[in-house]
Symmetry: C2
Subunit: 239 residues, 2 copies
C-alpha cells in the first residue's frame, strides 16, 4: 500500500496505534486487513514500515519496523507571511510543505486581511499533515503563532539571513548573501504591501529588501517563489 499514515504519537517498543480519521480511512475506505503493510510517520523526521496486527473499532494497531530517516536538507527556511484568505491560504501551506519550508509564521501587518484565528491555524495544521502524507515529508512544517514583524525579529535564531519582499527593492538574486547562514527567512506582506514603516523596521532589524520580479505577485505566489528561490540560493551557496 503506497499511502502514508500519520501517527498522533510515535511508536513505542516497536508498536504504534493509528487513531481517528487515519484509522477509519485505512479500514473503511482502503479496506485494510490484519497482515497488510503500510508506511507511517509522526512528523519527527523519520518514517517506519509497519504491519497491521489488530483492527479495532476506531483504531489500528501496528507492528513497526526500523525507522528510515529523511535526507538531510539545507539551512532551515522560515516564511513569515501576511496570510491570504480562503482557499489561497490552504494552497499556500500545501505548497510550502512540499517545498520543505521548516516554519510558517502568520504575519500580523497593518494592511493584512486574514486573521489567523486558532480555528484557522488548526485547519492549516491539518493541511500540513495531509500534504506531508502525500509528498513523503516526515518532519512537519511548523505553523507558528501569529507575530508582528517586531515579535518575529525578537525571537529569531542567531545567524538567520532575512529578506523582506519589497517590489521597490533590487532583485533577490542580485543581493550579496553572508558567507555562512544559520537559516533563511523571507517576509511576505499583504495584498496592499507592507507599510513603509514595516519595511523600515525589518531593515533596522537586519533584513535586506529584495524584489521577487517585475510583476505584482499574489501573496501565495510571492511566498512560494521566495521559498523556491531561497532553497535554490541556499544550496547554490553551499555548492
Amino acid at each position: 500500500m503506497s499511502e502514508r499514515f500519520f501517527l498522533a504519537a510515535p511508536p513505542h517498543d516497536g508498536r504504534a496505534v493509528l487513531t481517528g480519521d487515519e484509522a477509519r480511512h485505512l479500514v473503511r475506505v482502503l479496506r485494510a486487513r490484519v497482515g497488510d503493510e503500510v508506511c507511517v510517520f509522526a512528523g519527527t523526521g523519520v518514517e517506519w514500515p509497519a504491519r497491521i496486527v489488530q483492527i479495532g473499532r476506531d483504531e489500528v494497531e501496528l507492528d513497526v519496523g526500523a525507522a528510515r530517516p529523511d535526507a538531510v536538507e539545507g539551512p532551515p527556511l522560515v516564511l513569515a507571511v501576511a496570510l491570504p484568505k480562503g482557499e489561497r491560504q490552504k494552497w499556500l501551506v500545501e505548497k510550502l510543505t512540499e517545498l520543505g519550508v521548516a516554519r510558517l509564521v502568520p504575519l500580523v501587518t497593518a494592511r493584512g486581511v486574514a486573521e489567523a484565528t486558532p480555528a484557522a491555524l488548526a485547519r492549516l495544521r491539518r493541511t500540513v499533515i495531509e500534504a506531508s502524507k502525500q509528498c513523503g515529508r516526515n518532519t512537519l512544517l511548523e505553523v507558528a503563532a501569529p507575530a508582528t514583524p517586531a515579535e518575529l525579529f525578537a525571537r529569531l535564531d542567531p545567524g538567520t539571513w532575512a529578506f523582506v519582499a519589497d517590489p521597490a527593492g533590487p532583485p533577490l538574486v542580485t543581493i550579496p548573501r553572508p558567507v555562512a547562514v544559520g537559516g533563511m527567512l523571507a517576509l511576505v506582506g499583504p495584498e496592499g504591501g507592507f507599510t513603509s514603516e514595516e519595511v523600515a523596521a525589518a531593515v533596522a532589524a537586519g533584513s535586506t529588501r529584495a524584489s521577487l520580479g517585475p510583476h505584482v505577485l499574489r501573496i501565495e505566489t510571492a511566498a512560494i517563489a521566495a521559498a523556491a528561490a531561497l532553497s535554490c540560493l541556499a544550496r547554490t551557496h553551499d555548492a
Copy 2:
C-alpha cells in the same frame, strides 16, 4: 481607476475599443462614465493610459495616451508540463503568468491524465488574461498547442538550455549551465512521472536531468518551483 482592461485589438490612431465582458464590467459593475481614466493593454508588451470618450451598448470607446513599455526581462522561460486536472490547472497558469513565464506547452506523455482539449486551452487563455490584468503584465503568456517531448524538441529555439524534472537526478542548483543561453526550458511530467523512455529521449535531445528537491512535488508545485528557480538561476548567471 486602478483596474486594467484587456483590448481585443491594439489601439489605432490613438483610439481603442473595449468590447464584450471587459466593456460590460467597466460600465455595469464599475459604473464608469465618459471622461474617466483607465489603463489598457493588448498583450503586446506595452500598456496605455486611456480616457473614456463614448459608452455604447456593449463597447467603450477610448482615447489612448503614450505607450508605456514593460521592463526588459531575462531570457525567455518555457515550461512544458503534463497538465494537472481541474482547479490545479487554472492555478498553475495563473502562477506561471505572474512569474513571467513566456510560454506553456501542454505536454503529451504516456502517464498524463488531463487532455488539453481546445475548450480547455481556451479556458487557460482566459485565465492568462485575467492574471495579466491583475499582475500588471503586458505580454501574454503563450499557451501553445499540446506536444509530445519529441515534437517539443523538434521546434525548440536554438541556444535553449533545457532540463527535465526527474526525482532521480542531481539537484537543479548543482547542475553546470552553459555560459550563454537563448532561453530556458523545464519539462515537468505527470503525477506518475515520466517513463524512463521519455527521460532518455529528453536527455538524447540535449536536456539535463535535475531534481527539484527531496519531496514528491505535485505537478503545479514542480512547475512553479522550476519557474522560480530558473528565473533565479538565469539572473544569477547574468549578474
